[in-house]
């Protein structure tokens, strides 16, 4: 962009003022306070916007109340434009394309595109050599230069530098190498402290191990002490047992003495004793037996007879048998009678009727009364016959007939009734049968009587039989069940037979027995003698006379043996050692005292043991406390958590730091390609400005150094004089503007007062500007322009009108 004209309507001291601007170099001269800076501000204002209300900021309000603003005529893209910006607070922007005679649509957009990538700040930094910079020269740092430099590659990226700085600052707020207050530093202190606490916990481990050893020792001591207790207790127990035995011991002693006093009794073996006794017994027994048998023999033995006359009895039985036959005969008779009676009775359906009287019989046979019948008949006939003759007679005859007839009828009825009555009684027989049966009926009572007789006879016969049979049975003393007589008789006969035979056998047997008995008596006697001999032999062995003596001696020897045995028993219950020990004591009391003494001893040992156990419990409790104390674990986790926090914070810290570096690096890269060119140009300008004093500018690790041509000695920027620093600054700025040419061309606005140079230098700068920078437009405000050999000088006091 090139400025062609400045048209101010109202701005600061200027009002309705136009200036023409040379394409290449336009100089504005005038003393101080002549509105030089105003024009510059105007240019910047039109391009980037008028100043806003801020502290210490000149608003350039038009003095005479003219409309605020104005226009710039510029050349861009080979075309002329008029950029008109009116009004400070409510600004309107109009851009007219003068060449094409068109208004530019979206002027703001167009303008910012044209100016891109410049902002007001970057424009000021690069193209506007402002008076403000003058004040800052003293404090110019490398950083400022850096910023400038970085502007080359990435114009408008100086914000990134600020960002980078902020990030760096933010990082430093978190952590600094030697700080104690910063958060991360504090965290680290905390962390170290916790770690130390953790380390100190390891002393717990020493205590733990030591305590464990102590516990082991205590356990050992307890074991030993337990043995001691056991031993003491055993001793006590032993003595106590001895005490129990003391009584026995006493008995032992007494017994010993007793035995010592007695004489020995020869021992009789139990065998001999029992044998003697048994022999004695046998002898007695045998003797008694013999006596008894002898006695028995003397009593005449009658074979056991039954006093029974068998023959007689047999005869009786046979008689009874005959009786039985008679009896049966009677029975048969009875049967017959019974049958006959039954025959008669059977004929009737009901009870047997009584015998008919003769009359009745006649009735039956005759049937009806013939006489009467004939009578009636006669009367009747006569009557009828006589009717002819004599009716009265006839009537009387008839009446008689009737009368006899009725009488006949009545008697006939009665007769019939009687017949019916008879028929009923004799049912089911008919009349003839009835008549026939009258004979039987007459006999019936006789039959009954006979039957009774038979019954009686049967009874008596039976009774007699029974009696006689019973008698027989009584005599033989057996009774059979009520059987039929015949059977009974047979049984009895058999029995008699049997008995008779038995008796005979017995008799034979008893004879034999007697013989035997005699023999046995003999035998027994011989045995008896043998036994007697044996016994006397036995007794002789012991020089004794009889069994009693033997027994007495035996008992005595037994007693003696028992005593011996007791002695042995007692000895076995009390060992030799024990006896020795016990014998040392005068009496029970002494032993008892010793026992008490031992008891106390046991107590003492027990007490020691329980003390040790208590000690163990205490140690174990302490140990348990150590092992249950998990503070160690919690501390470990605490340390880990703190470490996590520190790592997170350091991550943030490093991210900030590295981001800052990153920005630097990126910017540096971005500016990399332009940098050498710029450096070269700056060096060149610097050499000229310093009149060849310095010939090199060196950038080293964010430091700027300059080299003296003659001596090749390098000086840091800080070491330069203010003047040299200014020159360096100018050289760099100009180089910057120069190099940036390929991105954007803007006019350089230089305020003379900024440049603290003498006339000569000023000229050289301008020469540089004009000759070195192709096409670069320069607007130069100065107080005097004598050194300029140009026509483009606008005298602000003369050539203009003031508002």
């Amino acid at each position: 962009m090139r400025i062609k004209a400045i048209e101010i309507i109202g701005f600061g001291r200027w009002s309705k003022q136009n200036f023409l601007v040379d394409r290449q170099l336009q100089v504005f001269t005038g003393p101080n306070e002549s509105g030089k800076s105003t024009i510059r501000a105007f240019i910047v204002g039109v391009l980037f916007g008028y100043p806003s209300k801020k502290a210490h900021q000149n608003l350039y309000t038009p003095k005479d109340g003219s409309q605020y603003g104005g226009s710039l005529v510029i050349e861009a893209d080979h075309q002329d434009f008029r950029i008109t910006r009116i009004g400070r607070t409510k600004t309107t922007l109009k851009i007219q394309n003068l060449t094409a005679n068109q208004e530019v649509v979206s002027p703001e957009k167009w303008l910012s595109e044209q100016l891109s990538p410049l902002t007001r700040e970057t424009f000021d930094h690069i193209f506007n050599f402002d008076q403000r910079d003058l004040n800052r020269i003293e404090t110019l740092t490398e950083l400022d230069f850096q910023k400038l430099l970085l502007n080359i590659g990435a114009v408008g990226s100086t914000q990134w530098i600020d960002v980078g700085q902020n990030l760096d600052k933010a990082a430093d707020k978190l952590f600094a190498k030697r700080s104690t207050k910063r958060p991360i530093n504090q965290e680290m202190q905390h962390y170290r402290t916790t770690q130390k606490t953790l380390e100190s916990k390891s002393e717990d481990l020493v205590a733990y191990t030591a305590l464990q050893n102590k516990i082991d020792d205590t356990n050992q001591a307890i074991k030993k002490q337990q043995n001691k207790v056991k031993l003491a207790d055993q001793q006590y127990q032993n003595q106590y047992l001895l005490l129990q035995k003391y009584d026995l011991f006493y008995q032992l002693q007494q017994l010993r003495q007793k035995i010592a006093r007695l004489k020995a009794i020869p021992i009789i073996s139990q065998n001999d004793v029992s044998q003697a006794q048994s022999l004695d017994l046998q002898i007695n027994h045998l003797q008694a037996g013999i006596d008894r048998e002898k006695k028995a023999l003397n009593i005449t033995k009658k074979p056991k007879n039954s006093d029974l006359d068998y023959d007689q009895l047999r005869l009786m039985l046979l008689q009874i048998q005959t009786d039985v036959q008679d009896y049966h005969q009677t029975e048969r008779q009875q049967e017959e009678i019974l049958t006959a009676i039954e025959d008669i009775e059977r004929q009737f359906s009901d009870e047997v009727p009584s015998v008919l009287s003769t009359e009745q019989q006649q009735q039956l046979t005759h049937g009806y009364n013939r006489k009467l019948w004939w009578l009636t008949g006669i009367f009747g006939v006569l009557g009828a016959a006589s009717f002819i003759f004599n009716p009265y007679f006839a009537i009387i005859l008839l009446v008689l007939a009737v009368g006899s007839g009725s009488y006949f009828w009545q008697t006939q009825k009665k007769h019939q009734q009687q017949i019916n009555h008879i028929l009923k009684a004799y049912a089911p027989l008919n009349q003839q049968q009835i008549l026939d049966i009258q004979l039987d009926l007459k006999q019936l009572p006789q039959l009954d009587e006979k039957l009774d007789q038979c019954d009686n006879l049967i009874d008596s016969q039976r009774f007699a039989i029974e009696q006689r049979l019973n008698a027989v049975q009584d005599s033989i003393e057996t009774h059979y069940e009520n059987e039929r007589p015949e059977i009974l008789i047979n049984q009895l006969l058999n029995e008699l037979q049997k008995r008779q035979i038995e008796e005979q056998n017995e008799a034979a047997l008893s004879a034999t027995h007697e013989n035997e008995r005699l023999m046995s008596i003999q035998l027994q006697q011989s045995t008896l003698q043998k036994r007697k001999d044996d016994l006397s032999e036995l007794l002789h062995q012991y020089k004794l006379v009889d069994v009693n003596e033997l027994l007495v001696q035996y008992k005595a020897s037994q007693e003696q043996q028992q005593q011996q045995q007791r002695l042995v028993d007692l000895n076995s219950q009390i060992t030799v050692e024990e006896q020795q020990i016990l014998s040392r004591y005068d009496d029970k009391m002494a032993l008892s005292q010793n026992i008490d003494h031992l008891k106390q001893g046991v107590q003492k040992e027990r007490t020691i043991l329980s003390d040790l156990q208590r000690q163990l419990a205490q140690q174990q409790a302490n140990q348990a406390r150590l092992t249950s104390d998990d503070e160690f674990m919690s501390l470990q986790q605490e340390v880990a958590n703190q470490k996590t926090a520190i790592l997170d914070d350091f991550t943030e810290y490093l991210a900030l730091k590295l981001s800052s570096n990153w920005i630097d690096q990126a910017l540096s890269k971005a500016s990399q390609n332009r940098f050498p060119k710029m450096l070269e140009k700056a060096t060149y300008f610097f050499e000229i400005l310093t009149q060849h004093k310095y010939n090199k500018i060196i950038f080293d690790d964010h430091k700027i150094m300059v080299m003296v041509k003659q001596t090749n000695v390098a000086f840091e920027m800080i070491e330069l004089s203010t003047g040299a620093r200014e020159q360096l600054y100018v050289a760099l700025r100009l180089a910057l503007a120069f190099v940036i040419n390929d991105i954007i061309q803007m006019p350089i606005l230089i305020d003379d007062s900024f440049v603290n140079f003498d006339g000569q230098r000023k000229a050289s700068i301008l020469n540089m500007l004009m000759h070195e920078i192709n096409g670069q437009q320069v607007l130069y405000w100065t107080t005097e322009a004598t050194m300029f050999d140009t026509k483009n000088i606008c005298n602000l006091t003369k050539d203009v009108t003031y508002g």
């Binding site: 674990m633 919690s634 470990q636 986790q637 880990a640 958590n641 926090a645």
Partner: protein
Amino acid sequence: MKFIHAGDVHLGNPFSGLDQQLPYELKNKYKMPQLRLLQP
């Protein structure tokens, strides 16, 4: 024959990467996860 190969038991090793916000219940429930491996 059989045997166990168990490397890097790291008894009692705390967890890394947990911040202080770990809730109390979780802290206590899993207080000693390493030891849990060895507790009967």
